[in-house]
Structure formats: structure tokens, C-alpha cells
Symmetry: C2
Subunit: 302 residues, 2 copies
């Protein structure tokens, strides 16, 4: 990772942490225990890939920094809620997340359930209560995008396909559909919503074709992210991942590795990476951070 | 219940069922099992008090019927998701709801978790994708209202207070705060959002003072609803309620009955009922359905 990019990542992770800290309800506000648990589940953790993509897409679109902050937080809240619910005993039954006890272990299951529910509500509240585009109708489009990316034909739907696929042999297109729902939709929405924060008056505002290319980039990067995740889950040990490793194989879940082998999955990730970079070509240097994030997503070791 | 009101209720319950049926994802759309479970959890059940209040408030404000339909569905989806999650083993561990096996019994816990999550996303999707007010900025206000009513300083927050209050002695103001969060906020949002569907061009459009009176009505009726619920839970048997009766006392939960006794709780409900009707006085006959619903909520036997 180049030093310049490394410092951009560190700076923007700190930026996100600051905004999260400010926008999450304080732990001394009633109901205190719920608010404390919400903060526990969200703050101080993770690579923040989705917010970083949002920040990079916002830079590309010349979008207002304060507006993009809200989008980045909303997407991260949805992601964090899904982790809290996924870790629960009735789902993946995981005790370790980001190197810390999972929410239901640290608190209790009922609280973890409500933490996830409340984080989802908060994401939509933030998108509705702050002005994110001069045109309120475009803001409604953004909310619709996040809602669809989160729901039964998005992230939660991907989880549901995942559930019924345990122990079955999915085809590559079926596995792809599952991951487009489960991971891709939210990553795509992070990029698109940030781009939509570009003001109407701004010279850098993207046209429909450019938004389309960005959308394509989001889909490819989202898929690459999952392929690399499968490879890492198979290779790494628990200490490096910060979560329990090898769970997928233990649970007899279909993955890109189980379908294509490690080498096949790695070459698929490289192919997606190449195509993702191609879709950014016309943007030149303005898309530098998105390009570097694509590299990071594919080349990361954790 | 007067025959005229009875037929209004039946007509509007059928109206809601039709719109729910149309707006919920079809059970043959991937992921089928999740969509089937979402429909199971929402369709064909309940008194539909929140949607009925929305319909009545919409009539009062002269709001477009199609718009109010979306609001009624969104609020009912939030309510239905909360029931699915509340019934789960880690919360109330209930096996019976609306006379049918609860969602996690009929399907499984993981599916029930995702059903609740997906119903919440769908509620916000519907409010964002359909035009509900000529002014998109007002529509953003409506989304914010529902998000706040659902989250940690609304319904989910009320649940969290409920959790920590088991076995403790709440004061009346603490119990009231819990129920304003847990039940009142969503009932209030059903009424206010429906009123906000009134078109800018419509002569019947309510002014700020009128909206304030409606808001007050919503708070009083929401609280009355909960007080009556506590009385019924204590008196009725399981067959009449369609859900397991006497759970609150069994679980050592503070209720209006445990705090005030049955007679005290009943007279509190009557007082709230009177005040609720007073706040509608200036609206005359246009508020007839809201008045009848207030009567129904306080006088119901199930």
C-alpha cells in the first residue's frame, strides 16, 4: 500500500469514527444500555471498506463533505446491524468479531436484537433528517436505494439464500446472485449514494453514463470483495482475521473456494479487479482513490 | 360498536389487506422462503389499529387515498416486524400470535430474524419510492418521523426499557415513558404521517395548530391503548386474546395494573379517552372516525 494512500485511509477512517461518534446516540441518553450497546457494536472496529468507498466516490463527484459523511455513516450502520444479527446464536453463532466479543456475548441476545433493529432505523433517520442533495426528490431516491440494498432483495435476502444453501451445491450463477444480494448491493449503494450527493450546481456533477460506470465498478468490486473474503477465510487463522476463521468450510457453506478451488477463486478475483479498473478509465486521476481501494480490496491479507 | 363504524372498520381492514398483499414481495420471487415468511407474518391478522388510525386521519386531512395507503402499510410493516422479533425465544419466547404459530415456530429463528429486518427495510422503501406529498421535503420529514418512532428513542427503545425493567418497580412516569416509546410513538406517527399526505393544494389541509392537536390525540390514544392492553392481559384468557395471556404477570413485568390495580388502570384509560376526545373537538364531524376509533380502543374486549 503506497504511503500516500495509507495516510488517506487512516485519515478517512478517523473521519468516519468522528462522525459515527457524533451521530450515534450518547450512552447517557435513555435507554442507556441500548445506546451503549449500539456504540459498542459500531465504534472502533473494522476496515470501514464501505465508508471509504463512499468517501472516494464523493471526492470523484465533487460532493459536499458533510453530506457524504451522512451517507458513509448510514451505510456503515446498516453493515454493523447485519453483523450484530448475523453473529447471533440463531444465525452464525459467533463469539468473536473485530477481535472483541460479539454484541450478544458482551450484552445479551435480546439487547443484540434491539441493537440491530435500532441501527437500521437510525440509518434511515440520518438519510431523511439531513439535507443530502439540493433536490429533495433525489434524496428520496437515495433512501430508496439504501432500503432496497438492505432488504429482502438486497442484503437480508442474500442472508436468506445463504441460510437455505448450507449443505447444498450451488452453481456459480447462484452463488453470484447470493453475493450480489448479500454484499454487493450495499457496497454499490455506498458508491452511488455518495456520488448522488454531488450538488446540482457543481461542475463535477456526474452524468447518467458516468453514474452507470460507477455502478458497474461497485458491482465488480462488491463481488471481488466476497471472493477474496472466501479465499482469506480458507487460508487465514483467527488471530489475523479478528473473527473466527474456517467457519464457512466447517458449516458446509458453498463458497467461491469450494466451487473453483483456491487458485480458481484467486484468478476470478484478479479478473474482477481488472474489469473494475477498466470501468474507471475515463475518470482519470479523479478516480484515483477508488482505484486504490479496488487494489486494496483484492490484495488485502486480512 | 355502531353498524356504520363496524362496516367502515371492515372495509378499511380489507383495504389494508389488499394493499399489503400488493406491496409485499410475492412468495414466488427469490428468496422465496423469506418472502413467504414475510407474508405469513403480516397478512391475515390483527386488528390493524395503526392503519385504521392512519385511514381516519387521512380522511380528516382530505388526503389522497393512494398516498395514505402507503403510510398505513409502512406503519403496519414496522409493527409486524416488532411482533416477529418480540416473539423470538431471546425476547418474549411466545409460540402463539394472532391465533397462529409465531413466525420462528412456523419457520425457524434465523428466518424470523431476517423477516423482521426485511420488513423494516421495506417500510422505508415504500415511503421513499412512492410520492406521498407534492413537496418531497415534507416526505423526507415523514420518513424521519417513522424512523424516530421505530428506533432507539421510539419503539425499539421502549422494548429495551421493558427488558431492563423486568422484576423492578417502575414509577408511573417511568412506565409512561416506556409505553410512549414502545407503543405511543408508532401510533402517533401513523396519525401524523397520514395527515401529512394532505396535498398542498387541498382546502382541507391542516395548519400547524391542528397538526399539534392531532399529535396530542395520538399520544393520548397510544397510551390508552397500552393501559387497556395491560387490563386485558390480566383479565382475558388465551383463546379470546389470540396470544398467550397473563404473560406479563408471569414475567414479573411492571404494568399499569400492577401499579394502579385493575380499577385504577380502568379509570386511567377512561381519563385518557376523555382527553383524547377533547383534543378532536374543533374538527367536528370530520374527526368522526378518529373518535370512534378512540372509543373502540378503550372499550374493546380483546
Amino acid at each position: 500500500m503506497r504511503a500516500d494512500f495509507q495516510s488517506w485511509v487512516a485519515r478517512n477512517q478517523a473521519r468516519l469514527e468522528g462522525v459515527l461518534n457524533e451521530l450515534l446516540p450518547r450512552a447517557d441518553v435513555v435507554p442507556q444500555r441500548l445506546h451503549e450497546a449500539m456504540r459498542y457494536a459500531v465504534l472502533d472496529g473494522g476496515k470501514r471498506v464501505r465508508p471509504l468507498l463512499a468517501f472516494a466516490a464523493g471526492e470523484l463527484a465533487g460532493a459536499d463533505v458533510e453530506r457524504v459523511n451522512k451517507v458513509a455513516v448510514a451505510v456503515e450502520l446498516i453493515h454493523a446491524y447485519s453483523l450484530v444479527h448475523d453473529d447471533m446464536p440463531c444465525m452464525d453463532n459467533d463469539v468473536l468479531r473485530r477481535g472483541k466479543p460479539t454484541c450478544h456475548v458482551q450484552y445479551d441476545e435480546a439487547t443484540a436484537l434491539l441493537v440491530g433493529d435500532s441501527l437500521q432505523s437510525l440509518a434511515f433517520q440520518l438519510l431523511a433528517e439531513h439535507r443530502l442533495n439540493d433536490d429533495a426528490a433525489i434524496q428520496l431516491e437515495m433512501i430508496k436505494l439504501l432500503a432496497m440494498a438492505s432488504g429482502s432483495r438486497g442484503m437480508a435476502g442474500g442472508q436468506a439464500i445463504d441460510l437455505v444453501s448450507i449443505g447444498t451445491a450451488l452453481t456459480l450463477p447462484e452463488l453470484e446472485l447470493m453475493h450480489i444480494y448479500k454484499t454487493g448491493a450495499l457496497i454499490r449503494s455506498a458508491i452511488l449514494m455518495a456520488a448522488q450527493c454531488g450538488s446540482d450546481n457543481h461542475d463535477n456533477r456526474l452524468d447518467a453514463i458516468q453514474i452507470g460506470r460507477l455502478d458497474h465498478f461497485g458491482k465488480l468490486v462488491g463481488l471481488a470483495f466476497q471472493v477474496v473474503d472466501d479465499v482469506l477465510d480458507c487460508q487465514a487463522d483467527t488471530a489475523t482475521l479478528g473473527k473466527t476463521a474456517g467457519k464457512d468450510a466447517d458449516n458446509d457453506k458453498p463458497t467461491y473456494v469450494s466451487l473453483l478451488g483456491i487458485q480458481g477463486a484467486q484468478s476470478m478475483a484478479q479478473q474482477l479487479h481488472r474489469e473494475a479498473l477498466e470501468s474507471l478509465e475515463e475518470f482519470g486521476d479523479a478516480a484515483r482513490r477508488l482505484r486504490e481501494l479496488a487494489d486494496f480490496i483484492v490484495l488485502r491479507k486480512f
